[in-house]
Amino acid sequence: MDYRVEPFALSAESARRVDDIVARYPQKLAAMLPVLWVVQEEAGWIPPAAMAWVAERLESSAATVQAVVTFYTMLDDRPVGKYKLQVCRTLSCELMGARRIIDHLRDRLGIEPGETTDDGRFTLQEVECLASCGTGPMLQCNLKFYENLTPDRVDALLEELRRREPAWSDIAPVIYERPDREAYEAMWPETRIQAAGREAPHRIEERG
C-alpha cells in the first residue's frame, strides 16, 4: 500500500485536539484510537496518507496504524456513505426481527450489506451487539442509535436522512415506543420448528 499518494494534514483545530489527547497518556502510542477518531471525524474515513501521518505523530509505523485501523470495526480504511447504517444482527435483535430490518433496508436502498448507494449517501452494514438488546431491533446511524425499529420506522428514518446533512454531534438515541405484538410477529424470523409442533416455512438461503 502506498501511504504517500497524497499529503495529509488535519485542520488547525483538529491538530490541537490531537495534541491535547496525546498529552493525556504516559505513552504516545496509547493515543492511537482517540487520534484515529479525530482523523475519521474530519476526513470521513482514514486514508493511507492519514495512517502515515498518525504513525509519524505517535512515533509508530504506518503498518502498525493500518493493522489497528483494520482490526476495529468502526474505523474505515475506505470511503463510506455520509450515513453509515449499521444494523445489529446479534441474537436478541434477531429474535425480535433484525433480519427483517436488514432485508427491508436492502430493498429500500438497493444495496447489499457492505455496499454504499451510488449517490454516496448511505452505507449499509450488519454489525454485532450494540448493547440495545431490550429495544431491538435497532440500528446505529453514524454514532446515533435508533431503537425499537419496524419497517415503517425505517422508512421514516430514511426519509428524514435524505432531507438533512449528518452531524457528528447528533448522538442522543431515538428510542421509539415498543412495537405491539402484531408488529413483532410480522418481523419474527421464519423458521421450521419441530419441537413446538408448528411448522412455519423455512427459508433456505445459499451460503457463499
Binding site: R24, Y25, P26, Q27, L29, A30, A31, M32, L33, P34, L36, W37, L58, S60, T64, A67, V68, F71, Y72, T73, M74, L75, R89, T90, L91, S92, E94, L95, M96, V127, E128, C129, L130, A131, S132, C133, G134, T135, G136, Q140, L143, K144, F145, I171, A172, P173, R181, Y184, W188, P189, T191, R192, I193, Q194, A195, A196, H202, I204, E205, R207
Partner: protein
C-alpha cells in the same frame, strides 16, 4: 419480592436529571469518597473484601481480593481501569448506569483508586457508546469543576486524574488484557496470564481493571458498610445484580434484584412474562457466552453464582436472553457462531479456525444440507477449543454449541435430510459435555 435498589434507586427517584451532579449530591453522592479519604487504604480494600462483592463483568472474581493483589509498594505508578466496553450480547446494564448515573461510577473509581494508591485512572468505552460516553464526560467535567478531581481532591493532598478513552469496535477489547492492549494503542489481543494485570498490566505497571457495575457498587459499600451489603443475596453471592432482559417478553429492560432470586418468578415479576402466544424455549441467563437453560432447568433455578452453576450455566454479565418457542435452536446457535467467528482476534489457532468451522457447519445444518456427522463434528470441535486458548472467547462459543445440541437435538435433527439417531448423538454429547460449567 421487594427489590432492593442499591444501584437503581437514584435514577428512579430523579428521572431525567439523575445524571447531573446536583441530583447525585442531593441523593447523598460523594459522601463515600470523602469517608474513604479518611480511611487507611488497606481498610477500604478489607471492607470491599468483607462485602463479598464479585466482579459483575463476567468472571465473578472477588473484587477486594483483586485489589489486594496489587503491590502496596511499587516503583512504577499503579493504574485503575474501568471497563465500560460492554459488548457481551444480551447485556446493556452498564449503558444504563453510564447514561443515568455516571457520577456513581466516578465515585466508585475514586474509591478504588484511593484503595490501591492510583493517581491516574482510565475509563474505557466501547466506540459505539458515543451517547453514554457523552453523559459520562459531562459528569466528569462537573466533578472536575467542583474540585473533586485533579490536584488535591476534596481539599486533601490526594491527586487523581481520570481519562476517558474511546474504543473503536471490537468485542475482544472487553477481555481485561485485550482492553489493556487496546488502551495502549494496539490491536486488542488478550495477553497470556501470568503475569496478571495486578502485577504487570497497563504500560507494564500494576493495574486493577473492574467492570462499570462493580465500581458503581463500591460507594454504597463504603458508605453503608460491608455488614449492610451482606444482608442482600446469598452466602456466596452477596448483594444485588443488574440483569439486562431481552427477547419476546412483555417488559424488557434492566432490573436490579438480590442475587439468588428464583428464575421463573423473576421472569414473571420483572420481565412481565412472555409475550402472548409465545412459549418458553429457554433462557441464556448471563450473556451469549454462557450455556442456554431449558424451561426445566429454569424452574427453581437460583439466579446467583452457585445456583446457575448447579444448573449448568453461569451469571456471566447478567445478559438475560429469553428465547421463545417461535425460533429454532439452530438459528440461535448460527447467530452466535457468526458472532464469535467475527469477533475472534485470531491469535490462537483453536479459536481462529474453530469458530469459523462451527459457523460453517451450523450453517450447513440450517440450510438443510447437514448430517449427524456434522453435529458430531461441532461437538468434537467445541471440545478441542474450550480451555485451550489464551482467553475465554473460544469457550464462549464451545459452551453454547454443546449446550444447544445437547438440549435441543430435535431442532438440529429436523433440518438434516437423513435421519439422525438421537440416542447415538446423545452418546457423543456425553463424550464432550464435560466442557460445560458445573457445580464446583
Amino acid at each position: 419480592m421487594a427489590a432492593p435498589r442499591i444501584l437503581m434507586q437514584r435514577a428512579l427517584d430523579r428521572p431525567g436529571e439523575s445524571h447531573t451532579l446536583p441530583a447525585y449530591e442531593a441523593a447523598g453522592g460523594y459522601r463515600a469518597v470523602r469517608k474513604a479519604l479518611g480511611m487507611d487504604p488497606v481498610k477500604i480494600t478489607d471492607e470491599v473484601k468483607a462485602s463479598g462483592l464479585r466482579g459483575r463483568g463476567g468472571a465473578g472474581f472477588p473484587t477486594g481480593t483483586k485489589w489486594s493483589f496489587t503491590p502496596r509498594e511499587s516503583e512504577k505508578p499503579k493504574y485503575l481501569v474501568c471497563n465500560s466496553d460492554e459488548s457481551e450480547p444480551g447485556t446493556f446494564k452498564d449503558r444504563w448506569l453510564l447514561e443515568n448515573d455516571p457520577h456513581v461510577v466516578i465515585e466508585g473509581m475514586m474509591i478504588a483508586a484511593i484503595a490501591i494508591d492510583c493517581h491516574l485512572a482510565f475509563n474505557y468505552f466501547r466506540g459505539e457508546f458515543a451517547y453514554p460516553e457523552a453523559r459520562w464526560r459531562a459528569a466528569l467535567d462537573e466533578a472536575y469543576g467542583a474540585g473533586y478531581l485533579g490536584k488535591g481532591i476534596f481539599g486533601s493532598d490526594y491527586d487523581l486524574e481520570i481519562v476517558t478513552h474511546s474504543g473503536a469496535g471490537a468485542y475482544i477489547a472487553g477481555e481485561e488484557t485485550g482492553l489493556l492492549e487496546s488502551l495502549e494503542g494496539k490491536k486488542a489481543m488478550p495477553r497470556n496470564k501470568p503475569p496478571f494485570p495486578a502485577v504487570e498490566g497497563l504500560f507494564r505497571s500494576p493495574t486493577v481493571i473492574n467492570n462499570t457495575e462493580t465500581l458503581a457498587v463500591v460507594p454504597w459499600i463504603i458508605e453503608n458498610g460491608a455488614a449492610a451489603y451482606v444482608q442482600y443475596g446469598t452466602e456466596k453471592s452477596r448483594g444485588t445484580k443488574l440483569w439486562s432482559c431481552s427477547g419476546p417478553i412483555n417488559r424488557p429492560g434492566v432490573y436490579e434484584v438480590e442475587l439468588g432470586v428464583e428464575m421463573m418468578g423473576f421472569l414473571e415479576e420483572q420481565c412481565g412474562g412472555l409475550m402472548e402466544g409465545v412459549g418458553l424455549k429457554g433462557v441464556i441467563p448471563g450473556g451469549s457466552s454462557v450455556p442456554v437453560m431449558t424451561p426445566d432447568e429454569c424452574r427453581g433455578a437460583r439466579m446467583d453464582y452457585e445456583g446457575l452453576r448447579e444448573r449448568g450455566s453461569l451469571v456471566g454479565s447478567g445478559g438475560f436472553i429469553v428465547i421463545g418457542d417461535n425460533v429454532s435452536a439452530v438459528d440461535c446457535l448460527l447467530n452466535l457462531a457468526h458472532f464469535y467467528a467475527h469477533e475472534s482476534c485470531g491469535q490462537c489457532t483453536p479459536c481462529r479456525e474453530g469458530c469459523g468451522w462451527i459457523e460453517q457447519l451450523v450453517g450447513r445444518v440450517r440450510d438443510g444440507r447437514g448430517s449427524q456427522a456434522d453435529l458430531e463434528r461441532i461437538l468434537r470441535l467445541s471440545d478441542a477449543m474450550a480451555g485451550k486458548t489464551i482467553c475465554a472467547l473460544a469457550d464462549a462459543l464451545a459452551w453454547p454449541s454443546v449446550a444447544f445440541i445437547k438440549k435441543y437435538p430435535q431442532d438440529f435433527a429436523a433440518l438434516c435430510p437423513d435421519p439422525v439417531d438421537l440416542e447415538s448423538l446423545a452418546a457423543v454429547v456425553g463424550e464432550h459435555d464435560h466442557i460445560l460449567p458445573k457445580a464446583s
